[in-house]
């Protein structure tokens, strides 16, 4: 116990992170973190103005770890930004699946980025890894040209939504039991790349016949 000597702040962040991993979001408590750091229940107020500031520090650490994982995944494909993009998407979803409570804290309402510039910077940096790579893909001719932000937020929504569905266990069992987080992310990314609209196969020349005519459709159940 080398605390009480000026390193209490990181000790509190570490304690809160451990509580988050072990007991979930409801288990993170200012008093509990203080207890775990071996310090009185009011000592945290010397280092954080309130509980939200401590949570923001925890979330900031999560974004840094996420950024590291995404960067490492991208490094495996230095000459192929599309593969790098896919690897980063997979890394993000796997991170979320592995650190569910942490991911929820990072993206949830408990922390408001406007009040914590360090957190906001870490979050922006992580997301810019994605958008930058989208631009790289456009430069390389692997993603169709156009407003990069307009495409990047779609990819971002996709991987973030998949992550939260995984964390909150809301995917239907048939999907969840068939594939792991990485496989789901890979599949989702590929679907987004190819699109879901009916069309001729990509690599073949366009057919000479007109596109299939629409049949009358069943209405969704009411």
């Amino acid at each position: 116990m080398a605390y009480h000597h000026g390193n209490l702040r990181p000790a509190l962040v570490e304690a809160a992170t451990a509580l988050l991993d072990e007991r979930g979001p409801l288990g993170v408590t200012l008093r509990g973190a203080a207890r775990r750091a071996g310090v009185s229940q009011t000592a945290p107020y010397r280092h954080f103005p309130d509980k939200g500031a401590l949570l923001a520090a925890v979330a900031e650490g999560g974004f840094q770890r996420l950024g590291t994982a995404m960067t490492r995944a991208a490094r495996a494909h230095p000459a192929d930004p599309l593969r790098a993009l896919e690897a980063m998407a997979i890394a993000l979803v796997r991170f979320a699946a592995r650190h569910g409570a942490h991911y929820r804290l990072m993206c949830g309402p408990a922390v408001r980025g406007r009040d914590h510039p360090g957190l906001r910077r870490a979050a922006v940096a992580a997301w810019e890894l994605l958008t930058t790579t989208v631009t790289d893909c456009q430069r390389a001719g692997q993603i169709r040209p156009g407003d990069a932000a307009g495409l990047a937020f779609v990819l971002w929504s996709l991987v973030h939504g998949l992550s939260t569905l995984l964390v909150d266990e809301q995917l239907p069992p048939v999907v969840r039991q068939a594939w792991g987080p990485g496989e789901l992310a890979k599949h989702a990314t590929e679907v987004l790349l190819q699109g879901v609209a009916a069309r001729a196969p990509r690599t073949a020349p366009a057919p000479l016949s007109p596109r299939r005519r629409r049949r009358p459709a069943r209405r969704p159940r009411t």
Copy 2:
């Protein structure tokens, strides 16, 4: 005050819903809902085993309202399931943007579906509206054939992710200020339909020249 006569349960659900809308997730309290319903602080335990059960009832109501909104949106396009799908996606994102705290509760960790079958049924019903319409689109030749669940969960992830990014105000300002929720949903759905990969224009015949060669790509920043 016609309570104390057997309709306390719906009154508590209504009170908790109002607290959720007015004060956000942290403002929802068992004691507060009881106060608002004009009843003692322990009276809710006659109708709900714990706070989670009350929250589940609130979330269930949200899924019912969401399902109604999606169904109504789809009804405007009875003969065109692809347009119906788009309309439902827009309705979902708009619902989430308008009832942020409610949507977060519905999809968040506060309520675990396994413990509340009514909630789980309502959630499944809402999501099945989407997946059913995906199948309708495949039957109509508007969405490429293949595993419907594998395509539906991608669409689901997309609209859910966009909704949560909107609710948590995590979209970059350049995106958030340029478009409203409905426009973002419409754009995202169209991007998913068309795909983001570089390719020849859909309606024109395939070009005779080979696809553009990849240039060496810049690495994402480390």
